[in-house]
């Protein structure tokens, strides 16, 4: 009953999404450590990649939610999964281009829901699962993260107020290495699971796995490696926005923000919530700005992010639906191949456009002047 060529294309596209998920989200764990120079940019992405890899093996709760909690698996075809992934990848690339830390998870869920709606109508979507496992956690998590981070920042500054400035920055930089590592590990437990869930969904749709089956080991391994590879690429544009654009961060603040993110993400993984790690990290960074007296929070940058959060689910859903219509109106394997060519063309275009305002490990920390495009071009090496 299955079509192995199409299945292979879907799995490859799923891994492509996993890769964008990796580099889009490196910032969540490492932006603040890079901004405070607790870690050099290249060491930061290497460490984060390794811990994402380990984290991906630690839990499968979220993969189970994605594979069977959101859409009616009996109505999902390979074309639906493919179209959803294509929509998610395009939205992830667009937000990366603008340096916006939007949620890769919402892009993925939005894309799949959009293509499911286009293919089978609204009865194929488990709305209650969507609201209770995705939307409500999405709305609450940034506030919880901000509260925890603001409390942590306040406590840390109070305790550290009599410390010599040198001891303080050195001490909390060490702390940051630990807390950022925990965020990377947490990211692996939550985000790597999402692609595992989607590929499991594709295997079920193809009849390779029975409905309700658990994720096969090879899927876990391949997804873990891919997200680690993406993380190692480093999404420098998003790192710059989160590390330099939102709040000017000192090491005690970065430490508090990362601790808060790690705790909230790991707890949510524990409950099987497919939480947006991006929104948690952003909430924490805002919170660490609020918790320190006199720290400046750039609310216009925060506002732009919040807007992106609200539109990510519907925008990815629209793109998922469009790519489903394109694929299904042509039909069969040919339809998917046409979709794939369009996807590659759009990705290539966005990448080519990004070259003129390139952000790299060399200029990621240059002064924030209102845009993600750094004032120093990527070619001037300072070190």
């Amino acid at each position: 009953m299955g079509n192995d060529v199409v299945l292979a294309l879907v799995i490859v596209t799923g891994l492509a999404f996993d890769f964008t998920n990796g580099f889009h989200d490196t910032a969540n764990a490492m932006a603040t450590s890079i901004a405070t120079k607790a870690l050099s940019p290249r060491i930061a992405v290497g460490l984060s990649a390794a811990l994402n890899l380990i984290g991906a093996f630690l839990s499968l709760s979220v993969a189970a939610t994605i594979a069977s909690g959101l859409v009616n698996t009996g109505l999902v075809t390979l074309t639906v999964v493919f179209a959803g992934l294509a929509g998610a990848i395009i939205w992830n690339l667009i937000t990366w281009f603008f340096g916006i830390p939007s949620s890769s998870s919402h892009a993925l869920i939005g894309g799949v829901i959009g293509s499911t709606l286009a293919a089978a109508g609204s009865h194929a979507v488990k709305w209650q699962g969507l609201v209770s496992k995705v939307i409500i956690p999405a709305v609450l998590s940034p506030f919880i993260a901000a509260l925890v981070a603001a409390t942590g920042t306040y406590l840390v500054y109070r305790i550290a107020r009599n410390m010599h400035e040198r001891s303080r920055s050195a001490g909390f930089r060490i702390g940051q290495i630990g807390s950022a590592s925990m965020v990377s590990l947490a990211h692996g437990t939550n985000d790597a699971q999402k692609t595992m869930g989607i590929i499991t969904l594709a295997l079920i749709a193809n009849g390779t796995l029975a409905a309700g089956a658990t994720t096969p080991v090879w899927v876990i391994v391949v997804c873990a490696l891919t997200i680690a590879g993406g993380t190692y690429m480093g999404g420098w544009r998003v790192i710059r926005t989160l590390g330099k654009g939102l709040v000017e961060i000192e090491s005690p603040q970065g430490f508090a923000a990362e601790s808060s993110s790690a705790a909230v993400i790991l707890l949510s993984t524990h409950f099987g919530y497919s939480l947006s790690t991006t929104q948690v990290a952003t909430g924490s960074i805002l919170g660490c700005g609020l918790g320190k007296k006199g720290a400046e929070v750039r609310w216009n940058v925060a506002g732009r992010m919040a807007t992106a959060w609200v539109i990510t689910l519907p925008a990815a859903a629209v793109m998922g639906a469009i790519s489903y219509y394109i694929a299904s109106s042509i039909g069969g394997t040919a339809g998917i191949v046409v979709d794939l060519i369009i996807l590659l063309a759009i990705s290539g275009l966005i990448y080519a456009r990004s070259r003129s305002t390139r952000v790299s490990p060399e200029n990621v920390n240059s002064e924030w002047t209102g845009t993600v495009a750094p004032s120093e071009p990527a070619t001037t090496r300072t070190a």
Partner: protein, 85 residues
């Protein structure tokens, strides 16, 4: 708990989140403070970052061990529950 929002889970995330996400950094900060140089009265030309008498070093070590143990326990819980499905 109701069908749409699991308030018990939300509540647990807030409380445990505060304990782990804000409490542990505070304990780490106490440890750092024990071995940090004071803000005043330290010669500026020295390169030293940390110091302290054996009592202070022991207190700091205890704080850091508490943090490490809590983190280790957290990971253990995640792994244990994450493969039960």
């Amino acid at each position: 708990m109701n069908e749409w929002i699991d308030w018990k889970a939300v509540w647990e995330i807030v409380v445990v989140g505060l304990l782990a996400g804000a409490g542990l950094p505070a304990i780490f900060a106490i440890g750092m403070r024990a071995i940090a140089l004071p803000a005043k009265g330290h010669p500026e030309d020295s390169d030293a970052l940390f110091g302290g008498n054996p009592m202070e070093i022991a207190a700091a070590t205890l704080c850091f061990l508490i943090v490490l143990a809590a983190v280790g326990y957290g990971i253990y819980i995640i792994v244990k529950s994450g493969h039960a499905h």
